[in-house]
Symmetry: C2
Subunit: 347 residues, 2 copies
């Protein structure tokens, strides 16, 4: 029902922000997620709040996006917090931690399990406010030049993998390597590295790794989900009218739904193309999974013993995760285990 | 960066809408989801677009919410489309279909798999536009007075279950019953019915069914997810300023994230309380699952043969679902099968 048109009372200002992405434009999933977010904010504010998205390197390098927000070089960034574990491993919890929750469970922890409050409390030290706005779902376990069957096969493996997962694998003899996306293919081709992980079928296909490292392992136990957030400078945030704050918050949630749906929609066909192109799908052996699980939890205990920020998040995070695991085993997981294979097994 | 404050140009009107819910206020998950949505729309429009939420029965009975939107008695409803399969079984696809996708896959189908377009095309016949705004995740398989071990045990079972799932179970001898939430407990207590399904631990606990039907089965194969949408009258929609349309769309996505996260956060403790209170958890046998899977797909072929609306959605839906199932088996499902049990099995 239309009530009497009100006299215009809005004095919402025109605001222009810059959002620096950690990703190149060619990653239409991740870079596209930031563009989607900016478009929705404009639509929600009669185009008065304009956010311009910059690709990695246009303002600052991809892995300095968070620093640029902290310094207020830009008002906001679209990045993965786990790129910054060198500053503090606590950053990882906002994106992903090996053997962590799946996407649904991460979202539950964020919005109704205390996770968002814990992470925002931590980010405040960097003058930053976060809103989850992207998820990739469970990632793949990467590309290997040779088969990896046992824990022994991990020893000395030069593996392009970063952050906490690299620290876990170091315990098992892996030599983690840090390489930008563009350097992965030539390094595998030359044999400078033995293996590399990236994201999942759709994004991985763009790098062409199956041609030089055909063994494609799963699951990516270090990224049972990967959440990306919008990281906003708190001074810039404080200057926003309430309506624009609401617009940013809602647009982030909408971008979250859209990006995850997109990944889930484009990955099946990409995996089929990769396998047709020669990728050899392999599951990690249970021996490897179990050794990594143990190493990961040892690492978390070690970090907790010396880092109060980490411990403060890790303890409630672990309790929440374990509760979620138990519940999801019941209806969700038993449904999926039946349904996903029924077309092949029910005759 | 603040640009020069603009002269107020907005002439957005004050608009008041009524949203009728299919649920009572006591279901804080579902009724609360509609209230969340209304609050966010207000925040996004400087409180100019106000949506008042009415519980089932306040304007129209819960199962007439869609009719009230079609007739423009109210501008919008928060309901589950599968309550209306009596009009046309095609309605089910917007909520859930037995052996359908999980929540992630449903969202992928909706937003990047053509599902939203297909459903909106169908709803247009009812002068309605839909926005997904709630999901419960995989539901439980209901409460039974006696154990159900074989397909034979289903024969003659008076089971409170509705819609397409009731039609599937009829093929196996079940006698489906339609009962409002408040009538389930006394009917089970008296033995008028033998079993009843509702939602999942948190919502089920409110009905107290474990006291009169202690066997709690899983998975709820007829609801591998259940999506609820905001259903909006197209005439009312056409009168909205663009900014308010954007606000409704974004608020629905935000409500979707929030409700699913909430279900996932509250269910683990509810299940624990139910088990402590005497609920006996039981998985459906593989024999029962397989028989239901076959009966469901026979039913879909039968309906497709005589209903062009259904066929038009079912065929692309099935193809999309099957592709999703294959992909999710790889990384997502293998990750979960390991991780969810690792705390118990990795020593």
């Amino acid at each position: 029902t239309l009530a009497a048109p009100a006299i215009a009372q809005s004095s919402n200002p025109e605001i222009r922000w810059r959002m620096t992405s950690s990703f190149p434009k060619s990653l239409d999933t991740l870079f596209g997620g930031a563009e989607f977010l900016a478009k929705r904010v404009a639509a929600l504010t009669d185009n008065k709040f304009q956010i311009r998205v910059f690709a990695a390197g246009e303002i600052v390098p991809g892995l300095q996006a968070l620093d640029a927000v902290q310094a207020e070089t830009v008002e906001m960034a679209h990045t993965a917090s786990y790129y910054y574990v060198g500053k503090d491993p606590t950053f990882a919890f906002d994106t992903t931690v090996p053997f962590g929750p799946n996407a649904r469970q991460q979202s539950a922890w964020m919005h109704h399990g205390g996770g968002l409050d814990l992470m925002r409390d931590f980010f405040k030290q960097y003058n930053i406010l976060s809103f989850p706005c992207t998820n990739t779902g469970a990632q793949m376990g990467g590309w290997y030049r040779k088969e990896i069957k046992t824990v022994e096969d991990l020893k000395g493996l030069k593996f392009r993998i970063a952050g906490i997962a690299g620290m876990v694998l170091t315990k098992l003899g892996v030599v983690p390597q840090q390489l930008a996306a563009g350097d992965i293919y030539p390094s595998l081709e030359k044999g400078t590295i033995d293996a590399a992980e990236w994201v999942g079928p759709y994004d991985d296909e763009k790098l062409g790794l199956f041609k030089v490292a055909p063994y494609y392992y799963y699951p990516g136990w270090w990224e049972g989900q990967a959440q990306l957030s919008a990281y906003i400078n708190l001074n810039a945030w404080a200057k926003l009218p309430d309506q624009y704050k609401a617009a940013l918050q809602s647009a982030c949630a909408e971008a979250y739904v859209d990006t995850l749906a997109r990944y889930d929609a484009v990955n099946p066909a990409a995996l089929r193309r990769l396998v047709a192109g020669g990728a050899q799908l392999r599951p990690f052996s249970r021996e490897i999974m179990a050794a990594c699980y143990k190493a990961a939890h040892e690492l978390y205990d070690e970090i907790s013993a010396k880092n109060a920020n980490f411990k403060k998040v890790y303890e409630p995070w672990k309790k929440f995760r374990d509760d979620e695991y138990l519940w999801f085993r019941v209806s969700e997981n038993s449904y999926e285990n039946f349904a996903f294979t029924a077309a092949q097994t029910v005759k």
